[in-house]
Subunit: 335 residues, 2 copies
Amino acid sequence: MQQPENSTGQDPAARILAHYLHAQAGEFLRGLRLQREAGPDSRTADEAARALCAAGRRIAATLHTFRPLLDPVWADGLRGELGWLCATLDGEHTCAARLARLLDALHRLSGGRVAPARGEAGTLTVGAARAGALLDRQLTPVRARAHSAALQALGSSRFHAVADAVALLASEVPLAPVAAAPAVEVLTPKALAAEARLERAVAALPLARAARPYNAEALVQESESQDDPWHQVRRLLRLHRYAQDVLHPEPAGPGTQAQLPYASRELDRHREAAGAAAAASGAARTPRIAPATAYALGVLHADQRHEVEAARFAFQRIWQPVAVTTAPTATTAAP
Amino acid sequence: MQQPENSTGQDPAARILAHYLHAQAGEFLRGLRLQREAGPDSRTADEAARALCAAGRRIAATLHTFRPLLDPVWADGLRGELGWLCATLDGEHTCAARLARLLDALHRLSGGRVAPARGEAGTLTVGAARAGALLDRQLTPVRARAHSAALQALGSSRFHAVADAVALLASEVPLAPVAAAPAVEVLTPKALAAEARLERAVAALPLARAARPYNAEALVQESESQDDPWHQVRRLLRLHRYAQDVLHPEPAGPGTQAQLPYASRELDRHREAAGAAAAASGAARTPRIAPATAYALGVLHADQRHEVEAARFAFQRIWQPVAVTTAPTATTAAP
């Protein structure tokens, strides 16, 4: 990626913004070429979809965060279309990943045994096998539909229009007049605003609770109602990271900034585990399932909520590395 | 409690041992008086049973750890009878505590709501209520039988014989000749042996794994097969603490020794949670229960196994306060 020469805060915002968008557009087009080379059901096709989504998300995030510096009609339009595209392309991957996560968990929870090792192991092993079959029956058609939708999207004129728009983006960016001003005056404040939105959202999280491992919130239903604020932080963290990439194309040195991708990954894990937990409890409402199946789904749901809490704990450890962790609790009188 | 004068390692072991056993016998007799004053179904009766068991355990532990310094036939006999008594008196309390623990957990897991707040909450709330009713139906008769057994025991000639033996203990201790030697030569080594047995058992625990919160072992069936080594540590820790009480009647100052009661408490919690988890999975094998009930029992089982892991984590934090905890894992490449 060619660096803008003498990149400083005094550079016009237009230059820095255009540089980033050109680069991401190039990545998108690379994904497009991969997709055209690949057969419809192949690893290359998956890789192509990942590349299209990665670049598409970054472009859309930039159009959102720095919208005042861009042609608003164009920016809103392209952002919406990129959102449609990424959601459609990601759908199959999300389904496949969720089913794999659930089946892996069931395997782990039943100790990886095919036959019961002890009397008590029998219930969970039998139930786990049935639960896995049930989830497979329920999620595989969803995945197949998502696969069809993705194929259909990639062949549609709507997709071709998006591809054309991004191809244009590789050479010109519809900017607003204000983008001619120095970056430090018009670009940086937008990035700071994104960071501020993130910090407000993080401040609203129960991080003190998340910092105490085994805080017994894992399986309480309030934990599930807490998911949305965490999902919001995940989105805002991503927007913040991408905004930082626009301002600072060089990789960050050691320090807080370098930890942000790990924080993002924990929030991704949080979202995946929360979705899997919901799938498990949803499956438990299937009529006429055997008690052993329902039991295994209960254990599975709890396992995934447990992982939600673990992800919150890990996020808090990354986000607040200098926070003083509470000492082991010996808060009541000695027995 | 009257201190032995000039208590040093050169005191005869007999004096220190007798002093401790006299004191515990006095506590046992105090419990006996309480029990005679109380009605059969009252708080005082519970308090009396607790006092009898507490003193009985300490006497039995001393008869075990320092057996070579005592008349062996007498020591073995009394220890066996005290074991019978404590198990019988504790039975009802254990049942009641287990049912209370399970019902509290179900209440907490369903968010404490009577009516479902959201569609998804409905499954667990309905199932939790049924699961609670099922556990109540299964555990209450067990508690009633334990209550009857305790009443029967307290009225039996077997119990009177134990009471008489302990009353004798309040004034004389059947010692072996070797007990005349200085405590440091014959008493202290026995206590050190008890400590060594404890440390060997702790060394066999997977403490490194327990130190990592959310280590994903909570719900794997291997975790349940790991329970016995932890239960063994719980017994050995108790024996070690009581042996220390014999040697050092003064409360310990701040330091490792002062933490041991907290460690014991975590292991008690470990045992209670493991037992409750087993009760939940056992109840799930009841024929013809509704899927919603089985689901709630699965979540409940997971919740209690989660608490088992939390107790292991807490024990490790107390036992190894100077151990270096591993840094937050960022072991793979940045996403």
